[in-house]
């Protein structure tokens, strides 16, 4: 059991820097899109809905 877990741990930790980089960049871009949508979108209804969120987070609002 311990052999299995250590092997799989080794594979997952070395599991290609490229793959981890892709996941990190992908997650960051998706996260940035969410923040942009709620905090920076110029759509009036979205602005009104997230108005207090924007002011509280010190995003430029009006």
């Amino acid at each position: 059991m311990s052999i299995i877990s250590s092997t799989s741990h080794a594979t997952s930790s070395t599991s290609t820097l490229g793959l981890r980089l892709t996941a990190a960049i992908g997650a960051s871009i998706l996260g940035a899109c969410l923040v942009y949508f709620a905090g920076f979108s110029h759509i009036e209804a979205v602005h009104n809905a997230a108005h207090d969120t924007r002011h509280s987070a010190a995003f430029p609002c009006h």
């Binding site: 877990s5 960049i25 920076f40 009104n48 207090d52 509280s56 010190a58 430029p60 009006h62």
Partner: protein, 233 residues
């Protein structure tokens, strides 16, 4: 790996957004509502529309707006949730490159997030109550995003840079947006009394510190907790 990022970001965002909503409801939102009484006062209406240097903007009468009360709290909660999950996704993504070795390291990630997304931008564009004159919205948004990006890059170089040259480059990148300067209105004017604005700045900063520390701590804890999930990679 993707499941680990999604789980960490989802639950972290949910918990941090609830904390943020709680702090906002009791501390920040009452100040915003109080400021709006000045903005919506009939005498102030003209000033609001024509204040020199204020960004020209029209209020679309047909656009949906939450009614004060539960509707407004609910839509703010929704906004908080989207923003919190977004920030948590960035943190969890970065953890796949630099996994926190201890849960307490999440506090440092949280502090870095606070410095990047709150402290640095507010040095040029302080938190504003409704009814404050400001430069063009798009210009301010561009400066805000540029500042956040350069602060993130600067902190990363200072913390992870292997030699002094990279660290010095990081410090230089950190300073650039503040040398350029944030877009400012031609004339500073404010409808709410200064004491209210001062109180709002403190409330906003402390709420954001608490939010970011919670975001960092919870995300590091969840990310490390999921590490033995070896079948999901």
């Amino acid at each position: 790996m993707i499941k680990r990022i999604a789980q960490t970001a989802g639950f972290t965002g949910l918990l941090a957004a609830l904390l943020l909503t709680l702090l906002q409801s009791f501390w920040v939102a009452p100040l915003i509502l109080q400021a709006e009484t000045f903005e919506k006062a009939p005498a102030a209406a003209e000033l609001h529309a024509h204040a020199d240097g204020a960004a020209a903007h029209t209020h679309d009468a047909e656009a949906w707006e939450p009614e004060d009360g539960w509707q407004r709290v609910l839509s703010t909660t929704g906004g908080n949730l989207v923003v919190a999950v977004g920030f948590a996704l960035m943190l969890a993504g970065l953890y796949t490159l630099r996994a926190p070795t201890r849960t307490a390291q999440g506090l440092l990630w949280g502090l870095a997030g606070y410095a990047t997304f709150v402290l640095a931008p507010t040095l040029g564009l302080p938190p504003e109550l409704p009814g404050t004159a400001a430069a063009d919205l798009a210009e301010r948004q561009i400066w805000w995003i540029g500042t956040a990006a350069s602060t993130a890059a600067g902190i990363a170089l200072i913390v992870f840079g292997r030699n002094w040259l990279l660290k010095a480059l990081g410090a230089a990148i950190l300073v650039v947006p503040h040398v350029i300067g944030a877009p400012q209105p031609q004339v500073h004017s404010m409808l709410a009394p200064e004491a209210l604005e001062a109180q709002f700045k403190i409330a906003s900063q402390l709420t954001n510190v608490a939010f970011w520390l919670a975001l960092g701590l919870i995300s590091a804890w969840l990310f490390r907790r999921n590490r033995d999930d070896r079948y999901s990679a």
